[in-house]
Symmetry: C2
Subunit: 147 residues, 2 copies
DNA sequence: CCGATCTAGTTAGCTTTACTAACTATACCG
DNA sequence: CGGTATAGTTAGTAAAGCTAACTAGATCGG
């Protein structure tokens, strides 16, 4: 029963959004396949997509503090998913890039059995996927705005 | 009805959804007003809305293990937001209900200044709110289905 | 009715996530 | 060149949620 004509109040929506984010976040962590938590997969995906990044840039994009970015890089490097090259312009820093193995793992985490979320979404109809797609657009703008 | 004729792939959507859940979840925790984390607010809201519940029922609804529900109840009770009455039918258990103070805090957490999320959502247009509303419906079905 | 088993809640201990504060070392500016 | 600003790191802390193991009340078969 889609309440298409009813007014949606933002406070009511806030409560519902919070609950669902909390629950989905639990689910994702519980079903973490490939041995990487949602946070780490997200960080790896950012590094892979947005090319070589300094830890500070990663922290900024992922909306975490720099010590957390340091930890992300350390763990990902430890597993050979990422490597670092000195920054030619700044001796204090370095650039992080995804390794071939990191890219493989990312691809697998999207398509393979282990991908709980992709599997769940694949059961949805096209119209539902479109709805989610649009909602994510809204959410992204919201996150970007409220920094 | 939307001009979007492009196909939305579920694997691509999964990655985007994961990132946004992870980030929003960080935001929510960071902006936790009223001294309650998103998890605890969500638990309190469930107790308030779905009447007196046993810890097991709470655990089931919130999709956590029982020890986690025990902790939720302990913390909420400690802050006077919830109280417990013995279960007349089962001597091992009890029923948890929201106190007046708990309900006040919930109401405040929805409307007041401190409510980061409600404030952010209030800047959106009605059509965006409707999009989110529909997407939450999809998400809820998804979460319910994948138990 | 009684012992065996099942179930609700709890306790203890662990892991992960992410924070702040404080430190090191390099960059930059007057 | 000296002082300040900035990048990354280290250390320590707190919260979330898990599993394993325990306690006590419920339930079921004989």
């Amino acid at each position: 029963m889609p309440a298409t004509t009813e007014t949606v109040t933002s406070t009511e929506l806030a409560a519902r959004l919070r609950s669902n984010v909390v629950r989905l976040s639990r689910r994702l962590r519980r079903h973490a396949a490939s041995g990487l938590s949602p946070s780490l997969i997200s960080a790896l995906a950012v590094v892979a997509r947005r090319g070589p990044l300094t830890p500070s840039e990663l922290a900024d994009i992922e909306d975490v503090r720099r010590p957390t970015a340091t930890r992300f890089v350390a763990i990902l490097e430890n597993r050979g998913l990422v490597d670092r090259d000195p920054d030619p312009l700044d001796g204090r820093s370095y650039r992080v890039a995804a390794t071939a193995r990191g890219r493989v793992l990312l691809a697998e985490s999207r398509t393979r059995q282990g991908a709980y979320l992709a599997r769940a979404l694949s059961t949805l109809e096209a119209s539902d996927l479109r709805t989610l797609d649009q909602a994510l657009g809204v959410l992204e703008r919201l996150l970007e705005a409220g920094r």
